[in-house]
């Protein structure tokens, strides 16, 4: 599904990713953990196509497509989804109009007619129920006046609407209380299937109690320095990151 090979990226003159390799198969859930400043969010931004980041070397193959050649909107239409760490408030753009535009952009890409109003509303109802997003929030301007938990639930709602092939969750657990964490995780788990992959970026292990990964990777100074089964997350929680910072040959 996703093959990252020797990825180097920088912001202005500061190199952040320094030769990152990662392979994610269809249906797999991979977690990336690591200390602050290790490059976790940069990886999410580079994958989503944020223009502030410059890729200086390496390649990213997304289901047979050269991801780095596409702009952000084309990446999304190819089936990549980024759940933002800090979802953006957009006053005046209603959540529903936003989603309708997004769903139709994807359908156009697939050669389909725009979705019928009735089907769209049924879809909204079904997907919103996944993350208990009530009508009031669906009808408001995008994320405007939403609490932290509501914003993250809205991210997962959008993910459910767009049914991506690969979802990158960037610190989705930040700012969530325990109930919201449960709701968000249940939403993600409901979407897990054999064809859909997830890349879960988190600082803390607690999210991984709810969204149980197949693989855990440790990112340090722009490289993956350790990979292992889900138990690795527990070990990191117990011991911290210091013991692992030096790459094990």
């Amino acid at each position: 599904m996703l093959t990252i090979n020797n990825l180097h990226a920088r912001v202005e003159d500061t190199p952040i990713l320094k030769g990152l390799n990662l392979e994610i198969g269809p249906g797999e859930v991979h977690a990336i953990m690591g200390p602050n400043g290790s490059g976790k969010s940069t990886l999410a931004s580079v994958l989503a196509g944020r223009e502030d980041y410059e890729v200086t070397a390496g390649s990213v193959d997304f289901d047979g497509t050269d991801l780095l050649e596409l702009d952000a909107s084309d990446r999304a239409r190819e089936g990549l989804f980024l759940a933002f760490q800090y979802p953006v408030e957009i006053p005046g753009v209603s959540n529903l109009n936003f989603m309708k535009a997004a769903v139709n952009a994807k359908r156009e890409h697939q050669g389909l007619e725009p979705i019928a109003a009735k089907d769209f509303l049924a879809m909204v109802k079904e997907k919103a129920a996944l993350v208990e997003l009530d009508g009031r929030l669906r009808d408001r301007s995008v994320n405007e006046g939403f609490s932290g938990g509501e914003k993250k639930r809205n991210e997962i709602f959008q993910m459910a609407m767009l049914e991506p092939k690969l979802a990158v969750l960037d610190e989705t657990d930040s700012g969530l209380d325990i109930d919201a964490l449960r709701i968000v995780s249940e939403g993600v788990n409901a979407m897990r299937n054999a064809g859909r992959s997830f890349l879960v970026i988190t600082h803390y292990q607690r999210l991984l109690d709810h969204i149980v990964p197949d693989f855990v990777h440790v990112l340090s100074d722009g490289q993956i320095v350790k990979s292992g089964p889900k138990e690795l997350a527990l070990e990191l929680e117990a011991k911290g990151y210091d013991w692992i910072k030096e790459p094990v040959a």
Partner: protein, 425 residues
């Protein structure tokens, strides 16, 4: 080199004398000699000097043979309205459709003069010609327009559409409209100005209105002019007690536009709404000067102007709010927000509040910014293409200005024209 004043004289030398009030025309001619033509040196015109307009002298168009076949008399599909149409400042009677009802006088201004409906000394409510060269030009060369008078308590069943079409090269049009809404009466007016490709010259339009006690007047004012017309529009409105005046001014397209809107509240309990939107492209220039004058207690006003400056467009927002000494308990709100979309564009925004009463609520805000790149990225990250994402954000930005149009059909047509012009479809 010719001075601006010489140029100004040459500019108007080819104009036919006013077909309206002789005394007003005479007052205009006298004022013309004394008032300086606005150049960069005049504070009120610093960012909108008329020097580029004066380069090509203008002439009055001959009396129209009829309404041009390729221009719809009603440019707003689906709008059920009475209609007065003007070609280059002159009414084309056979293309008009005016109301005939008890308590309603709706006719051309020239007919109102000839029927003696405008009293001696009452021809002019704004004294615009005493203050501005542009006003003096208008008074000296004023042409025809709408005369609408509603008796007390009369509610006009349909809006009156005033469609002005400017056509031809270096043509001057000076349409003049007068609206009087009696106590507790209600009128809606749609002012639509159009011009085809190739049109040039000046449209110098004035609307004077009085809104009676408890009365309502709403104006949807749309500027949609191709060509290279200099549009100078002035509305002067006075409000009696407990009245409501609303105006939405949208510049869809215009080579060079100066809107001057003056509202004077004379009676307590009055409410005023002034909304404006502008999205100039290319090298277009749009200037909105507004004055909200609160002179009596217990009045409110709500002003919201928003715009996006593309390419190398330039413009001005200048919003004056006076709260006079007697105007206690005034609640005045003014907001002006601008997005400068391209590096070559510029806007000079200046809110001016002068408050002389001590028990008032006045709030104002003025912003000049750029598109929120983070929001754009968010939209794009959901698969929405750059252009569509920008369109969504533009519509969101000006959406609240476009709310509250008197006529929903006008709002729809405006949104359609903007979408077409800016590729939002």
């Amino acid at each position: 080199m010719a001075t601006a004043q010489d140029q100004a004289q040459a500019f108007v030398a080819g104009l036919a004398a006013s077909s309206g009030s002789a005394s007003l025309a005479e007052a205009g001619r006298q004022a013309l000699a004394d008032l300086p033509v606005p150049t960069r040196k005049s504070e009120r015109w610093k960012y909108s000097p008329l020097t580029p307009m004066l380069v090509n002298p203008v002439r009055t168009a001959p009396a129209p043979a009829g309404w041009p076949e390729d221009v719809p008399t009603n440019p707003i599909p689906g709008l059920d309205a009475y209609r007065i149409v003007l070609l280059n400042g002159q009414v084309v009677p056979e293309a008009c459709d005016l109301p005939v009802a008890d308590g309603v006088v709706c006719m051309s201004l020239s007919q109102a003069y000839s029927e003696g409906r405008i009293g001696e000394g009452d021809e002019d409510w704004s004294a615009y010609h005493t203050r501005e060269w542009v006003g003096a030009v208008h008074a000296a060369y004023a042409q025809d327009g709408l005369f609408l008078s509603l008796e007390n308590g009369v509610v006009l069943d349909r809006p009156v559409l005033v469609h002005h079409h400017a056509t031809g090269e270096n043509v001057a049009s000076c349409p003049r409209h007068r609206v009087e809404v009696g106590a507790n009466a209600h009128a809606e007016v749609v002012l639509w100005s159009s011009a085809p490709e190739g049109a040039s010259g000046m449209v110098n339009a004035v609307l004077e209105a009085k809104v009676g006690a408890g009365a309502r007047l709403g104006v949807d004012k749309i500027q949609h002019e191709q060509g290279a017309v200099f549009q100078l529009a002035h509305e002067h409105v006075t409000q009696d007690k407990d009245s409501t005046f609303r105006i939405h001014t949208v510049t869809v397209q215009g080579h060079w536009v100066r809107n001057e809107l003056n509202v004077l509240q004379h009676g307590s309990g009055s409410h005023t709404v002034m909304h404006g939107a502008y999205l100039p492209k290319g090298q277009e220039h749009v200037d909105n000067h507004t004055t909200m004058d609160h002179t009596v207690p217990h009045c409110t006003s709500s002003e919201l102007y928003k715009g996006i400056w593309y390419d190398r467009s330039t413009g001005v927002f200048n919003g004056k709010v006076f709260v006079r000494e007697d105007a206690q308990q005034t609640n005045a709100y003014q907001q002006n927000a601008n997005i400068v979309a391209d590096a070559g564009a510029s806007i000079n925004a200046k809110p001016e509040l002068e408050i002389y009463a001590d028990d008032v609520k006045c709030s104002h805000g003025c912003t000049v910014g750029q598109f929120d790149e983070e929001a754009l990225f968010y939209l794009k990250s959901r698969g929405i293409a750059e252009r569509a994402a920008r369109a969504l954000m533009v519509q969101a930005f000006i959406g609240d200005v476009l709310e509250g149009f008197g006529q929903v059909e006008v709002a729809q047509e405006v949104e359609g024209l903007l979408a077409q012009r800016h590729g939002w479809m």
